[in-house]
Symmetry: C2
DNA sequence: AATTAAATTAACAATCTTGTTAGCAAAGAT
DNA sequence: ATCTTTGCTAACAAGATTGTTAATTTAATT
């Protein structure tokens, strides 16, 4: 085979990522992807058969990335549950900040359809983790450290706060210029606020 | 003119609404809209010139609807700031529950592009309201009723929590069947949780 | 160097999509 | 009753979009 390794194949994948993430499935065009990759659009079919197929490669990639990162964020060992949540939220926020196009992409292509297959798969994977965390929470509640909450509510609260900031970023960015020194400053403030909100939700009044 | 009043015109608008809200601009097809309305797609151009034009009519409608409803939700007269926020959050949540397709639509078509024109317009409109609410908050803080917070943070917190529930509904719905009696039960629980989160964020520890 | 296999391109094909237009039908105006 | 306006349809047109294929180039194999 060519010494040119698998350059084109990767180039197409990367170009497709940008195209799909920014424009969504319907908005993305195969010729635009090929153009961005610097090849004819025939190559796209040569390597990936179809637009749908290429899209699903990227979608699966991103879903795995999101789940892995989320779990990893909240898995700092040697910390108590409260600190893990706090560090985890910051880490989760930072991950989205580093991948600001992900939320909209995932929302549109996973959250929109009742993609039962995927969700059930996800649920099965998470069930054990969720149950373990729930037991930790319940134990901490017993000790009088935190107030009662279900993992479900806690996760939805956290993801709501962290994700929405970036979903709404194009709008919030405008406000940022009026209220903050920079967009980055606004985001740092939002990160703090999100953690504060969750901490006050779970911590016992002192 | 025909006694047939302006039936077709409205039918197209309604069909377009369903189509655009469920599929987004790129996913929506003019022939599909016409079909849904029970007319030829030529009628769509007869009444609305172009797909883009029709789309923008609906987009403007929805944006106005969202803003008006949001302001109205938090404008119950004769209530103190804390109660207004509480009732407002519930009312806001109920509005989205009655229009569950709105969040994704608005997110994709407003929040995605730096639609400066619209945002600046919106900001100018809201500035007075925001300033007034901020003064109320500051006064309540002085009185020791609530903890300091900016209107910006408060609004983002509230919208994050309420909107995300519906953005993620297709996924949360799956979990709902495992954790709750019904999707409706889950949503009622989420509404309570969202209010609880914000209340604990703003209220002074008792 | 000759042969084989893989990568790439240009051209084509089929379908979809938006938009237009000419003509017909129905209603109102004169 | 005739004329005019409006609503509407069918057919068409232009271009976009996805996908295929035959031919060419490039690299690897012998």
């Amino acid at each position: 085979m060519k010494s040119k390794d698998n350059n084109t194949e990767k180039a197409i994948l990367q170009a497709a990522e940008v195209e799909f993430l920014t424009k969504g499935y319907d908005g993305a065009k195969t010729v635009a992807i090929a153009e961005r990759a610097g090849v004819t659009h025939a190559m796209l079919h040569y390597y990936y058969r179809s637009k749908r197929n290429l899209y699903e490669k990227i979608l699966n990639d991103k879903i795995e990335m999101v789940i892995k990162s989320f779990v990893a964020s909240f898995s700092m060992p040697g910390l108590d549950i409260v600190q893990r949540i706090k560090i985890g939220m910051e880490s989760h926020f930072d991950f989205i900040m580093a991948n600001p196009l992900l939320p909209r992409f995932i929302i549109n292509e996973v959250f929109s359809k009742g993609d039962n297959l995927l969700i059930v798969q996800m649920h099965d994977k998470m069930q054990r983790v969720f149950e373990k965390v729930q037991r930790e929470i319940d134990a901490a509640v017993e000790e009088g450290v935190i107030r009662p909450i279900t993992v479900f509510d806690l996760v939805v609260d956290i993801v709501s706060l962290n994700v929405f900031t970036f979903v709404a970023l194009p709008v919030l960015g405008e406000f940022a210029t009026m209220l903050y020194a920079s967009e980055k400053a606004m985001l740092e403030a939002r990160k703090r606020e999100n953690v504060e909100v969750i901490m006050r939700r779970i911590l016992i009044d002192r």
